[in-house]
Symmetry: C6
Subunit: 203 residues, 6 copies
């Protein structure tokens, strides 16, 4: 029996750690996507008890960033010189589906740029290879969980805007929503100019 | 439970994005095939919750283009210097079958040539390794979905022409059909001479 | 539900395209084996929804040709410089069994020599690694299908000759049979001296 | 039928051998994580009848150490020059779950630094890629097993502190608890400055 | 439905073709093991619808020969310069078990030495890595099949000698038996000094 | 149906052949572990119809020896220059479990040192990565089988000593037992100083 631990927002001191929103058997939940880089040769590792579709999301996110390297101040060679590991705690809980796509893209982009992620921000949305952000399910439950965890701003697909109408205003009071169409929209909102302390030097 | 989002046609500004037609449990649907290239060494990645037969279609399409590189103004070495990723949104929906073959071939050809795809065009058809276009099923449902999504022109196999007789004329009014025999027929119709903005330089 | 398209013979303009005979749930059928070569390093790809035994047939056929390269005017190095892809349309229909062995050998030999395949010829038979042609099942149904599709000559194993006695003479009238013992017998019958137009230059 | 052997604490003379706490069908148990290094090229081997999640824990632990190499007096190249093997006896008993994460991290860190592990110490906790220590289940049973085996100090997640309240004081009398938040907390407690006898020279 | 073809002995003109004895659902049967070599880099391919244990037999046989190369007038480098393919017709029939071990060893040895195999000889027996020949089952049925197929001499394990007592003398009249203990015993009996016509030059 | 052959002890003329004790559905049994080396590049092959846990035992044994190479008069490079194959006859019988661990370690050590194994000796015990020998099950049945096969000395874990009390003295009369704690204990007992005839030269 896995232990369901209720998460609370945990700050933005680490590059590559981004808060996502998941929809589980026991309701909405925040989750973290963590990316770690170490010098290597472009190996890509995924952990966290992830299903095939969720692994594909990470692959799409990484490929999107590789093919848009210059937009992030990176070169395509940067990706060949670092081993990339993406992890989604907690290991006892199986996870699947495409809705962590933009969270993974933001996590990877933060790790490669070493830029901080905006505080008290969470997100959910499918990513496509050309950078579109598709709508996902469970918006209501995810938003309730986000609020409970101390989140203040939420990024979702423009196509999920209509889902807010089903939620009583009291539940979303105090939350700021960003409705996005592209991954670049997400990164502009989520990544601060400021780098983390003692940043890695990625070239 | 996957979310079925109803697609509408989305323009042709991206190289490698081509509109296909699918036949799902809930009727016809348009879908996108997206190809992304990044500098690399010929690695081939497929995502989108694809079954074995659909993955084979992509393999056949890529091999067809590799062995006909000069016809597209490419060299066979071009394919060794780029990593190719083909994705079919949406990740939550399993997809299979050979009918996206010509869509994949067009997506790959657009990515490698950086030529724009004709506007408001969709297609469905199986590809063979010698470049024949074979007929596929669900033509009626696919055409209805295409029209609903704003498609104006449709490419299908010459052997699917007879399927149009089963459709009431009112449903296909305003649609232009292209009946093709070979992949080269498809590419001549689908690819514009014009390149996308800021094209990649493929050599 | 896969679409069963009834095939008709389609000419011999392509190197590597050979007509085989299959025995399916819905009776006999002709099928094509297509081989495509592209410059590479000896990679071998198989597509067409093939079962393990059918894939093994292709492996045996390729190995037979590699170890008999000089008999075809090739060198063993030829095989290291080209990537080989063998496909059997149609992707929606699962295919298995050893009976396409000689068809695959002929397809590969035609691709590597760029010699045309004899017109209106079909074949069925298992290949062994030393080049023996073994008998296969479903001869009656296969012959009926071949005739219906416009085939004029058929290659089968000498050990299948006895199966012709079960077929009423009217059904095989106008068909010429070749009873073979070895793959070299097959290639001598099936491959013309003439090369296809604009042949690849294989060395 | 596997043999369940009751373990007792066994000293700290070996680098890379760390005592963990497991929760099995037959109650709590101590277990050992063993890491062995041999000159090589960074190959990573896992044995001990481990499930996917437990294997992922080892992968996360290794990646954490690789990306924090300088904090342990190592270089990232150290990891490329040694083959790493992590084993969890006993082979007949299937093991899974994330709770050995910090035990694996400590085992790997001890092996790479050749530092001794603190005597009579056991631990249990999930590791995340950024180095957080998450709470795990079965704390009560694990503690009883630890005491029975001669353990004197136990490291658990700060978030597991509350689980101690369910245990009668008599059962935990004489045990010292360390409540940790990060893997670095764990390593500071668990690794002595002193190296093992005849240490390997890791550079 | 696979076609069971009744085999008859077929001569010894090919290097690498050796007659084995199998015990199938429909009784005893002779079968061929075929080995083909082509210039390459030591790749090892197995075909013929073989189960895991039968594949292991081929692996053991090849390793035995590699580690005893000088006894066959070969060098260990010989094995690195040739690709080896072992096939057991007929593809439609699944085959498994260790009893083809000595047949595979003889086939490989004949291929690498290009020496002819003794005429009208068949064999059955498990091989071990040190070269012992272990007894196998179905001896009675195998012998009947061998006689029916025109076999004159049979090699079996010394430990299978006792199985002959269960067979009526009339059934084994005219057959010569070789009872062996080691693979070297087998090769001394089975391989002639004479090479095949136009032998490959293996160095 | 596999054939169960009753083994008898077979001498010590081969390097790498060691007698183990197994506990099967039909009682105790001796079995052989065979290791063969051939010049290569450190490839590791396992055969004998082995389950995952038994394969892991071989991996642990090899890694133990690699990381303790100097204790055996070897260098860690020795292991990179030889391909290692471990086989456990008989192929028809599936085998699993950790109890052949020390037998495999002894087999590998004998092969790499070319030292003879003590005559009439058998052993059973799990190996851990740090070289501990853990107790295993079925001791009574294994001992009876060993005696029946002509074994005179048996190595088991110190923790299995208590299992001897359940055996009537008459059954173990004439057997000498060695109770061990570490793999090095095992090797000191099992490996003679004397090398086999015509030893391989391992460096
Ligand atoms: Ca949680
Ligand atoms: Ca998310
Ligand atoms: Ca849709
Ligand atoms: Ca399509
Ligand atoms: Ca058809
Ligand atoms: Ca055929
Ligand atoms: Ca235990
Ligand atoms: Ca633990
Ligand atoms: Ca047969
Ligand atoms: Ca045999
Ligand atoms: Ca036995
Ligand atoms: Ca044993």
């Amino acid at each position: 029996v896995p232990i369901y631990t209720r998460e609370t927002y945990e700050g933005n001191e680490f590059a590559g750690v981004v808060t996502g929103l998941a929809w589980t058997a026991v309701g909405g939940e925040i989750l973290y996507v963590e990316t770690s880089l170490s010098k290597g040769k472009g190996r890509f590792t995924l952990t966290g008890n992830l299903g095939e579709v969720m692994k594909e999301s990470a692959t799409i996110a990484l490929e999107y960033l590789r093919s848009h390297a210059p937009d992030l101040g990176l070169t395509s060679q940067s990706f060949e010189k670092w081993d990339v590991h993406v992890h989604v705690p907690e290991g006892a809980i199986p996870k699947d589906g495409p809705s962590a796509g933009i969270t993974m893209a933001t996590s990877l982009a933060s790790a490669f740029t070493q830029r901080k992620v905006k505080r008290n921000l969470a997100m959910t949305g499918e990513i496509t290879l050309r950078g579109k952000v598709l709508p996902v399910g469970g918006i209501k439950e995810k938003i309730l969980a986000a609020k409970r965890a101390g989140i203040k701003e939420i990024i979702i697909s423009r196509q999920n805007e209509k889902d807010l109408e089903e939620i009583k205003p009291i539940y979303i009071k105090g939350l700021k929503f960003h409705f996005v169409e592209t991954v670049m929209d997400v990164l502009e909102i989520a990544l601060l100019k400021q780098k983390v302390n003692s940043p890695l030097r990625i070239r």
